[in-house]
Structure formats: C-alpha cells, structure tokens
Amino acid sequence: MFLRPSASCLLFSTVTVVGLLALAGCRSHQYAHVLKDHQQDMVGSHEAGAETFNSLVDESVSKLLSRQAPEGTVEELSGEPLSKRICFVGVENYSSEDIGDFKDQLFEQIDASVATSGQFQTISTRYVENGLRQLRLVPGDLMVPQNMRSFSSVMEQNGQPFDYLLFAKLTSGTTESNKSYQRDYLLTLELVDLNTGRSDKESAKVRKGYHSSRVGSWMKYSSPLAR
C-alpha cells in the first residue's frame, strides 16, 4: 500500500533513532571568533561589506589628504602648523544597496581617519547636527550659498568655526551577465573650501563580482574561456 514490505525493519529502526535524537535535544549553538589584523575580512556574498568599505575609506581618505598638504600657516603663540578645521556633514548613500549599520561606521571611519591625519581638525558631529537642526537644514541644503553662510555663522556662534565642508557619497554601478553580475562601488569625498568656494574631489573604487555558484565565479575570472 504505502510502504514496501522490505522497508518495515528499517522503519522501526528509524523511529527508534528519531526518538533518541529527540530526547537528546536539538539546540544549536553559534560560535564566533575575533579576527587578527592579518586575517582577511569576510566577503559579503550578496552585498558589500567590510571587504569593500574598509578599503574604500582607506584609499579615498589617504588620496584626499595627500592632495591637501598643509599650508605654511602657523599658530601665532606656539609657532606650530595650524591645522584646518573640517566640518564633516555625513555620508550619503546613493548606491543600489541598503548599507544598514555600515553607514554610521563609514561616517566614523572617515571622521577618525581625517582627525588622526594631523592635517585637519574635525568638528564634533553633535555640533554639526545641532547647527543643521537650528537652521532646519539637511546636509544637501548646504550647497546653497545663503544656507552655507547661515550655517557657518551659526557654527561660529557655537564656538565651532570651520574652513572646509566635507561630504562623502557612496554610489554603485551594476553590470549584469546572465546570472552573474558585477557591482562597482565608488566612495567619493568632496572637500569644499568655505573661503574660496573651490571644491576638491577624490574617489576610491572597489569592483565586486557576484555569482550564484563557485563555478560561475571560476568561469568568469579563472577559466581559460575568461576574457
């Protein structure tokens, strides 16, 4: 009927094994470990992750800072080089992915990298946020000259004058090829001189290939057929 006769013994053994397994419990555990500095970041299988964002930040910040060598201005009293004050107004995500909790980390990574360079002094995010809120502005509004002047004036009143505005923008471009696709991530840092209005841009790019199988990845990049 439903069971072929030869399977009856097997069936009773299965029932016993299953019963024992149930009694033994079935809770799973999750494990974790701390990555050493020399260990590579995990590579996101569906979206960008640490492997992409860490290198984007490192490259773009170092490129930008290398182009912005400190000028000969020195502090009157100490005679030490005077670092320029930067107001970092945030990371805008224009990529096709929702970067979730990485957004705040990107902000902090860029902010910390700029601050530790010694070439620039960054303004606390809390002051920046309060200044924008006081004027009911959002970061994008600062490119309007009147808004920029008002913001600069408010920050000065709050004891936080600045020389540059720093914007970060994440974009992506996707190329599809059957079931595989390549996504290029571009992080652009734009530094706007408040006094001259001149802007300077630097970008870093990471290209990633996404495949539905390891074979797909091999066919695209490692096989003799790959271009």
Partner: protein, 522 residues
Amino acid sequence: MTQQLTQGLYSLLLGLVLLVTGCQTHRQVVEQAHESFWQGDLERSGLELAKAAERPRNDLAVLQLDQAMVEFQKGNFADSQHLLKQVRGELSAIPPASETARSAVSYLTDDTRRAYTGEDHEKLLLPAMLALNSLLRADGDAVAYAHQLGDECAALLDNRPLEPIAAEPVPTPPTPAQPAVNPAVTLNPAVTLNPAVTVNPAVAGPPTATMIPAGSTNQAEPVQQVVLSDTPPAMPLVPKIDPIRFELAFGPLLRAVIRGQSVLNHDDVIRHLQTANDWRPGSEFLQLELARAVAGQQAPQGYGSLYVIALVGRGPRKVTGTEEVTSQALLVADQLLSALGDYTLPPTVAPIKIARIELAPITVESLRISINHQEMGLTENVGDIGRLAVARQKELMPQIVGRAVARRVLKKGIIVAGKSASGADKESGNDLTSLLYTAAGVAWEAAEQADLRGWSLLPGSIQVYRVDLPCGAHQLDLRGELQGRTVSSRFGTPVQIRDGQATFAIATLPDQQATGRVFATQ
C-alpha cells in the same frame, strides 16, 4: 510477541488520551490569559500567562512573547524588552527546522512537536516591538533594532516563492452591523497649531489591480467606490500590488522615523520612505512624509514633531482548519517522503487538519487624535498584521499541507508494517490484532493536533500620525473609532515637544473593552 504488541497498543491509546487532555487544560489557561488581555485585565492576564509558562507545552517562546505584550501595556518596558530579547535568542538558536530531530519526531506525532521558529510576521514584529520599547526607554538601541527590522523584511522577501501570489482581497473580518458610512476624514480646520498632515481612514486593505485607477491623486477613495460598484472601472489599471509588501510598509517607515532623528541621516530617510511608498502605494501619510523629506522640510522654527505610533486592534490568531490537498502539496510531500525512505504517495489524500490563520473581528479601526482638547485627525494604517499573516500563510500553504500529507503516509505505513510484522495482516486472518492495529492507527491520526502556537497578543495593525507642535508641554488624547463612531473611552498623556526634534508617543488599544494606553518619550 502478539500479546506484547497488543499491550503496547493499549498503552499507546491511553497515552494519547492523557496527552490530549493535558494539552486542552493548558490551552484553556492560555486562552483565558488572552481573553483577560483583550478585556483590559492586564494583571490577571500576566498571572495566567506566568502560570502557563511554569509548565509549557513546547510553547514557552510564544508565552514569553505574550508576556512581553502584557508588560509593554503595563509600561514595564525593561521587562518587555528582556522577554523579547530572550525569545529572539531562543529562536535564533534553533537550526533550520528540516535539520532538527524534533522536526523528524513531528512526522510521528504532529506539528506541535516541531521546534517553534516563529511565523514570519512574528519575526518582523519582534524587532519592531524591541525598537518601540527602546524608544520609550531611551536606551539608545532603537537604531540597531531598526536595522534588524530591515534585515527581517529583507529575509522574508528573499525567502518567498519565485512567483508571489497575486493580489487578492483578503477575507474581511466580521464587523458589527453598522450603517454604511464613508470613512473619509475631514480635518478640523479650526486648529491654531501648525498645519497637521492630512490622514486617511485606517480600514482600506491592499488595493487590487481592478481597484486603482491609474493617475488617481487620491487612490484610497476609488478603492471603496469600485468595491461597491457593479460596473468595472473604465480607466487603465496600474500593475498588481504585492499584498505582502503592502502590509510590510511599516518596516521601512519605522526605520525612516527612527533614523530621521538625526538630520545627518536625511538620505536614509528618503530611501526608506521611498521603499514604503513603493510597497504601499496610495497611502496619503507615506506620500506626504516622502514629499516632506525630499523637500528637506522640517518642523518650523519653534516647533517640534510629534509622532504617534499606534498598535490598534487584535492581531491574527490560529484556529484548527482543514485544507484540501492540492497537487502542489502532494509534490512537496513526495519530496519529503523521498528524503525519509522508500515510500510512495497515494493518488488522493483526504483533507488535512492544519492551523489556519484567522483575522480577529475589527472592533477598533483607528484612533482619533486630539491635542490640547482640539481634534486633529485619525491615525493611518501602514501595516495590517492579520492580512500580512494570512497572505504569507497562503504562500506557504503547499509546504504546510505537504508536511501533513507526508506525516499521514508515514503513520499509515508504520501501522501496515506493524500488522505485517506481527502477522496480523489479511493473509494470516488474525482479525482481533488487525482490528487493534487499525484502531491504534485511527487514534494516532485523530490525536494529531494543528499547531496553534503563535504570538497571540499582537496588534491588528500598526498606525501612524504626525503633527508639528509648538515647543513646550501639550496634552495628547486619543480615542478609538469604528466606522466614524467613537468606540472607546478617551485616554492620553502629556507630551513635551522640543525645538526641531521628534517626540514619540506609542499608543495601544487592543479592543473596545480594553483600556487604551499611551506612553511618550521624554
């Protein structure tokens, strides 16, 4: 050998009877706890749930979820959060059901033996409730929970069948007989406060392809007109709306609202609001919020925003139902049986007993907001939990029924094998033993219970309202409405509005009989 088997069968029958009786008593306690909650007796509900949780029947997680709702209603946010986090940990510690031994055991008993991994709508509500608790506790974790909510939305959408089910009207829960009233809302123009957002009635379900005329500026109105009309609309139609995404809009909206507390996240806010609008087209609240965000508009100088997030009505519940076995379900069952051993499927299978998600009767549709005793408007529905659960169950039905069919085949197979092994099959002519085997088989199948475990104290819908108010103290009052009629007593709380900042008020009104509660962030 035969005598031993016969004794074993008697023991099995007795065991099944005892098991069923025990489960019913437990179920009665739990149902009483739910009833107490809907009637507003939170103390009693909490005590009854605690009693049930002392001796759980493989349902500790759902009892804790219900306890979390009781604690939330009582204003014990730390306790509520603790319970929710505990369940989240328990659920994430369970490996995929197909890999667990308990899942295998369920093939010999019923789905109640399966490790409870949570329904999809429950997995979404977990981070949502954690985020609301966190907002009220001001513990700084709300953004993290908002991210987790986004992850859960993405996981649900990723795990759907390749072809999502077409938009269809979900069965409408019964409402008390009322005269037909157009639920369109007019705002009180006499308010001296800053202009509030206009709001929409909370009752409209997902519009279908035949419901929304393209290019309509207000899509909520034609929905109701077309439903009542006998003639089809002559205007061109917009593409079908996904009923799951439609009810999921509260996810990206909550993310936008929570992330929007910092102006530096402005682009995130636009992105999430755009998603919410794409998923739930026709929502006036979402359209206005998106337009406002895109324009960079904030509360005027000297004003702050008050967001009311309301948990309204009763959520879905599970009831025992029967389901016809479709060819799709037989295919799933065949795949499952192939993995278990050498079995063959019968050509037909009688209807299967399953847990069917049922919408609770609508006793409250929306909340009417008053500020300083001036009426402002109604909350708007941005996610109907019942409809979401029903739509999702419909998608998963072939898997649910397939599993039940596989179980039935397996049980029948064991009985036949037992008969054969004990020499009680047709050839031997041992009628009494054969009869006992048959009786045991019938009892075994009859003892099967539908898996009615579920987060039962969920709200029916998540609704929102926003208004910009002058800085300072205000009195927020709310009352439940059903078809334009007040159905609950007024409840409220003082709110403190700060310049350029958002204040959150989380309101709950589970039922007409329950006491509405509202808690505001400080």
